[in-house]
Symmetry: C2
Subunit: 405 residues, 2 copies
């Protein structure tokens, strides 16, 4: 019997054995309740898995973490700063990222290889190492510190994004927690997606890696705010084994349970990021059903979710299925037009490839909700995928254009 | 000696032997000087080449034209309507497109196979055949009718787009003319790109086809207003041979001259479309230089030109090179960060992968022009490509969201 539950008020420190904390180090502009430096810590060294940006331009933190993870060692801490991305900063940037890890290792009594780093904020500006050196010693690690940590990684995010899911299954209980920051744009640069996940389960490193990739593929890789990726995008998952279960491997009876819990955490955070896209007023959920392959369903769902025309139509509560089918058509997947069915916000608008008559006012009202589901049924195969995006508003343009004028 | 010149006031009827005309048939909403049905005609049947949308959802006109062109016959006329796209209209749509060609053929005394059709406007609504039947007979074909024709294909385009280039070369003189409509959004549906090109040169059909594909590749395929493609996108080129030259083939001494003139016409029209993108205030020209391959240069230039973040930054006159390099990075081409150079509106902002200091006010002023060139030099190879786009403004969102609210 499986019981999977969201933990009320859950965060990255909800799994046993993790603590976290944050401070204002002076990297961001000062302001009320501003935090810009956070640390997650586990006394028990953790197995770790990471997924990083596919952008050819990578930030110093991504380069250093990838080298570190290649050594297959354990990890005890992650330090994250907001306000400066430490990207396009050359060799100095790499040296600064390494020094940051060393400073944390000294403070916590661990090895530098046991510390991962992440940065988000302005590109092309060196990390203010003085602020970081002083700030690290002001971070107080507590068992409830996940909430402060979640706030310390925010940029133009309007709300912190935190979650935890507990699984009770055949006598073992474990928890997966996570925090993320989204599609905030930091002057003068671009959105960075960061997510930090923790679990108190013991998980075999290979399975930890493959489970994370699978979850990221159906969650963070399926959200689109504006189609841009950042040099800093990072997802890290730490497993400290505090619940002392037999490590979960790919063939373990708990593998599916763990995967499902991790999916749940990642999808929750991914939706929170899409919902909080810059200037967004709505979450759009695109499901493409009965495609020939999962890859085709994914491609179609993502293309529709990232279409400016679809996003602007949803903002305007316009049941404009023509923009949905046009985005579908250019996603270059197999489509047989006379089989096509589209349902927008519960209103059937297209069946057998032909427009259905519907009451326009009812449709406009349905599209007025905070969450707008769009279902595209290809009626060709059995594969399905879901992508999430947000609407495109004048406010998005304002946020991203107003820096210098 | 080659002499290539833009013809002042040039249009699709500037090449000898072409006439055109337009009328208001009642397909669009009525208004001052509204035209919605246009015909281009050549008494001498033409060789023809066409390039059509890659969208998997194709309009009836695209389907019918593609079948027609496969027969490799000659073409005498093109009829175009705006106000209705005749797309997602099933078998009735196909029948209506064929009937439209037949009506024109009867009126002009040619065969239906000699008539091509194009439609732009609302998706999912049948062609108003009564209006078209009556309208065809009201179209007056004149040698100066290209200007009216150019207006009749407009949707939310704010200006007609017309051009002609004359080539004088070793005793022969020929002209290529063209009109296009761009990225207007037609309630309730999406942008369609149409371009109709004419030449009085005799051109061998195979070379006509390959020359058109080459020109389209470096012009219409390199513009991006919002990344969406339409089921109706069509480029047609008619060559009526009126100047009675030896037909130009791929190995003809005039092949290069013809290609260059066609490139010039297509690039002029493509830039006109990008400049007139919905809500746009600026034309952005992205040149990617010294890439390893032309394909990589093209991919990078197009990715940068279609980045919402880059487009919003240019709107805000923000010399935000971080968004340019981030878009470059995700275009998945070979980039060596320490070699990278970026010049925005003439201001060097990045060299050897590192930020340059520049006077912010000077940069903001330079970005205030109506045309903003962005040069990205990869310093890796010798390949180059240019793409065009426009800025992203609040007005774009308004235009595309306001239909129903």
């Amino acid at each position: 019997m499986t019981q999977s539950e969201f933990v009320p008020g859950g965060t990255v420190t909800t799994p046993k054995g993790f603590s976290a904390g944050a401070t204002y180090a002076g990297i961001k502009k000062p302001g009320e309740n501003v935090l810009d430096l956070g640390i997650i810590y586990s006394q028990e060294p953790c197995d770790v898995a990471g997924v990083f940006t596919t952008n050819k331009i990578k930030s110093a933190a991504v380069v250093v973490n990838q080298q570190n993870l290649a050594k297959k060692g354990k990890v005890s801490a992650i330090i994250v700063n907001s306000g400066c991305a430490n990207s396009s900063t050359g060799e100095q940037g790499i040296a600064d990222a390494i020094e940051t890890a060393e400073l944390v290792a000294n403070a916590l009594g661990t090895e530098p290889e046991e510390v991962l780093v992440a940065s988000t904020g302005v590109i092309g500006v060196p990390l203010p190492m003085d602020a970081i050196r002083k700030g690290i010693h002001r971070v107080l690690l507590t068992a409830d510190g996940g909430h402060d940590f979640a706030r310390s990684i925010m940029t133009t995010d309007t709300v912190p994004k935190e979650v935890a899911v507990t699984e009770k299954h055949s006598g073992i209980t474990f928890t997966i927690g996570g925090v993320a920051k989204g599609s905030g744009m930091v002057h003068p640069n671009l959105a960075t997606m960061l997510a930090f996940l923790t679990t108190d389960a013991a998980v075999a490193p290979d399975f930890l890696e493959s489970a994370l990739r699978k979850s990221v593929d159906i969650s963070f890789n399926m959200i689109s705010v504006d189609g841009d990726t950042s040099p800093s995008d990072t997802v890290l998952l730490l497993a400290n084994g505090t619940v002392q279960n037999q490590p979960i491997g790919g063939k373990s009876p708990f593998a599916t349970v763990f995967q499902e819990a991790l999916d749940k955490v990642c999808i929750y955070l991914a939706k929170a990021i899409a919902r909080d896209g810059e200037g967004a007023t709505k979450l759009i959920e695109i499901t493409v059903r009965n495609a020939l392959t999962v890859d085709e369903a994914r491609r179609a769902a993502r293309t529709i979710a990232s279409s400016n025309l679809v996003k602007a139509a949803i903002y305007g509560r316009d049941p404009n299925w023509g923009r949905v089918t046009a985005a579908l058509g250019r996603s270059n997947i197999e489509v047989v037009e006379p089989k096509l069915e589209v349902i927008m916000a519960g209103i059937p608008v297209l069946k057998n490839g032909r427009p259905l008559s519907f009451d326009r006012q009812t449709a406009v009202k349905a599209l007025g909700g905070k969450e707008v589901p769009i279902l595209v049924d290809l009626h060709l195969g059995t594969a399905e995928a879901t992508a999430w995006g947000c609407d495109l508003t004048e406010q998005y343009v304002k946020i991203n254009a107003e820096y210098t004028t």
